[in-house]
Symmetry: C2
Subunit: 499 residues, 2 copies
């Protein structure tokens, strides 16, 4: 007993050390994406590589193994038990990758992100191609090290969505795609379409920023535990539970980019800010999976931010920041316009109906890449073909095609499915949330407290102590079910397009 | 020979590791002073403490001792020889401080800086007092660990200005003070004083910023190797030779704060950006002392930025950014106004004549604190008394008195004299620079290239490979001499005040 207590104390010292490397590494990456001067990138990749190596060494150290062995199933503290399980999973996965290989990989990631930015600016895929080839090779090797049952891609999926398999996705995704396609078809044939051109026009960045900051505050985002910066590709990043930063991108000719983008990242940030402080500075102090994380950002962005009820309350506030051309618009026309369905080139600008079709393209391509069925050099062509097949449009440049997302540049294969899963989770949560309270009425009142509290009580507070499938099961009493998303979209867009 | 080569290679790996901690620590501190959300400060002090501890451990490691022993006086590479000497000095100084004590001290520093900010905002010295007492105690103990010949304060001075002694300062400073006093007296009696009220009035921050950015570019500051941010207390900080960041503070009612403050920090930054790339990522890749560093910032701020020649060229550019009330001012009136001599409360807002009197106060107080002749709790009273004695004015609040500077909050005792030394060095450099080129004419042409190159050739490039007294000797062929500063100020202010 005494021994376990001493071991737990020493284990916490090791966790603090791990945590210091994690926070530092995250800060170095945040700075690299938002603030770093151009010529400092090369040296920073060295530093990031060094820190990641230190973290990796600790995670796979004999010391870590010692604590796993002496504490697992022996501690009486349920949180420590969960931490040990998490550390064990990390230990097992990490020690399968040789230290040097991992270090080189992290430096490649940093370098690739910088090169991707340049390739994107210059619209030149060939700059990025050799880096992407290396990243794919690393990921295939890692998947082999980690092992899998059915499909090599499962090993990568596991990183982002523990328990999820290619088999499940290949069952769910086509159903979702069929339903979406039918709905998009009906919408295309509608004779009463919204007019989104009424939204266009110059909207000064500072005004957009002030409005989104007010919305973030209403959502419950704590600016004393976070901050908002500018970047090319918006993201949310957690240095610790009291330092959850978000970034956004402003298009002065189209406010939708920043407004809905900021609400989206704010949804991610709320998840991290509301994790139980009991888990602070442990490996459990983060969201349980990318899919569940995305359910939170998408819930706020779409189920709240693009809802009729939200604008019932917020349209006047919005107009107080908006330029002249938005002052005379009818509220219902505005609501229909911001929900216009239109096949488009850029994923993060896509409407909520076609969005998942963008995900299908990425999922199919990366699954095929990892399975060795296609080559990196063919990606631009294959990307464009699928765009034509699923969305009926062809990207005129790679910048608006295969180069648009940062994920692959960061080596994040297996991540994209999370977005579509996030949609399904969000709809499923929304359905069960609506059983407990009148969600529409609360949103219409601009009262987000009870909704936020429900998310914290059911999802946020647990951090990584509950696995994604466990959360879905506990909250909704059934497994993942695509029907809620299909029902939600059908109802919403039948109304908007008068189908 | 072969052995030395292998040892040098391994030594460089150790230096890279040290360097990674240094860059990371610097980034964490920059972020803490410019970007961090309030609630994240406590956790960050832990992280900073952890990183500083790691760095300290490496600097005092057996491994380091090994490389010092096998490489010192044995390597044929003169740069490695200098690095080893620097590492040895660090090793000897650091190993005298127990690891735990040093770690606690670094955390105290971070915490104290945050508390100082709060105390300053609330104008409440008592919040800060217990932290300052602890900081003084630590520094007295450190000075004892390090040792000294004449005065305990010498051990601290050495940190910032190697080779400088209390004895020298007690000889030079009174002479400077007497001369300054006489000159200030004559100025007070002048019947032809400049009118600085013509400068006051609203000057939008964004315009001030655009003007100062243009000046920074002209000075040769490389924005691809640095960036400019907002902060309460302006500073320059070097993450590495390609990432030298500066901060500034804008007062929309008085442009002088940002304009001269930015030129000042720009001068510091030029020093770091122009250190030879051969020294990159070694402990020699930084300025050789605080005094020499300050000579660079003060040279640019005063000898360039506040000179008649500078405004001969830049007044029209300035007016293109300036608001209406500055458009009709006569250039000579403007020049005289920005050089108004007026005893004031805030050091960083002081004119170049009274500035050194602010330094005398700080020097005398911190020397007495470290020698145990006065107590922390008496500081506000003693500060105010000296302000009355030397400058004839009394701070109405501690915020405008003893709480105004960050230095003591960071534990930087022995730092303040560098500012007065910097003035004297700058005047001495300026005198010898003027022998080689027509400095006034170049400034009047807005041509800073040759001046910058002279600074790089004679000072910047060497980083820490030459000691401060060595640089002074090499460049000016004589030791430190206060006469150049006194001559410069007398000539300049005799003209401005028609004495």
């Amino acid at each position: 007993m005494e021994n376990t207590y001493l071991n737990e104390k020493d284990f916490k010292l090791l966790l603090n050390e791990l945590n210091a490397y994690r926070e530092t590494l995250t800060l170095a990456q945040w700075d690299m994406r938002t603030k770093i001067p151009r010529k400092a990138v090369a040296q920073r990749t060295e530093v990031v590589g060094f820190l990641a190596d230190k973290q990796h060494q600790l995670e796979t150290s004999e010391k870590m193994k010692f604590f796993i062995d002496v504490l697992k199933d022996k501690t009486e503290d349920p949180i420590i038990q969960k931490i040990v399980e998490e550390c064990e999973e990390n230990y097992e996965r990490n020690r399968k990758i040789p230290n040097n290989e991992y270090k080189d990989y992290v430096m490649l990631q940093s370098k690739s992100e910088a090169i991707w930015q340049e390739a994107r600016e210059k619209d030149d895929f060939s700059l990025f191609q050799p880096y992407l080839e290396e990243l794919v090779d690393y990921n295939k090797r890692f998947a082999d090290y980690w092992g899998y049952e059915d499909n090599v891609y499962d090993a990568l999926l596991h990183t982002y969505e523990p328990g999820m398999t290619t088999k499940t996705l290949d069952n769910v995704f086509p159903k979702l795609r069929d339903s979406l396609s039918k709905l998009v078809d009906r919408i295309q044939r509608s004779t009463d379409k919204p007019d989104a051109t009424i939204l266009k026009g110059h909207f000064p960045k500072e005004n957009q920023k002030s409005f989104t900051i007010e919305i973030l505050r209403q959502m419950g985002y704590d600016f004393e535990s976070g901050r908002l910066d500018d970047t090319i590709h918006p993201f949310a990043i957690s240095l610790n539970l009291n330092d959850v930063r978000i970034t956004t991108r402003y298009d002065e000719e189209d406010f939708r980019m920043a407004v809905f983008g900021t609400i989206h990242e704010g949804g991610h940030a709320l998840y991290e800010q509301n994790i139980s402080k009991k888990l602070a500075n442990t490996p459990l102090a983060t969201g349980t999976s990318m899919g569940i994380h995305e359910s939170q950002s998408l819930f706020w962005e779409n189920f709240v931010g693009r809802s009729k009820d939200f604008w019932a309350n917020h349209f006047e506030l919005f107009k107080s920041y908006a330029p002249k051309h938005l002052q005379t618009i009818d509220r219902n026309d505005f609501y229909r316009a911001i929900n216009e369905v239109k096949p488009s080139l850029i994923r993060i600008e896509a409407d909520e109906l076609t969005y998942s079709l963008h995900i299908m393209i990425r999922y199919e391509l990366e699954k095929a890449l990892i399975n060795g069925e296609i080559k990196v050099k063919d990606l631009p062509r294959l990307w464009n073909e699928k765009m034509v097949d699923y969305l009926g449009i062809e990207p005129p440049t790679d910048r608006e095609g295969v180069l648009q997302d940062i994920h692959w540049a960061g080596g994040d294969f297996g991540y994209f499915p999370s977005y579509a899963l996030g949609y399904m989770y969000a709809a499923q949560f929304n359905h069960f949330l609506s059983r407990e309270m009148n969600v529409g009425e609360l949103i219409a009142e601009g009262n987000f407290t009870k909704i936020g509290q429900w998310m914290t009580d059911n999802i946020h507070q647990y951090g990584k102590t509950k696995k994604p499938l466990e959360i879905i099961k506990n909250v909704t009493n059934e497994p993942l079910n695509q029907k809620y998303l299909i029902d939600y979209l059908t109802t919403k867009y039948t109304d908007i397009y008068n189908l």
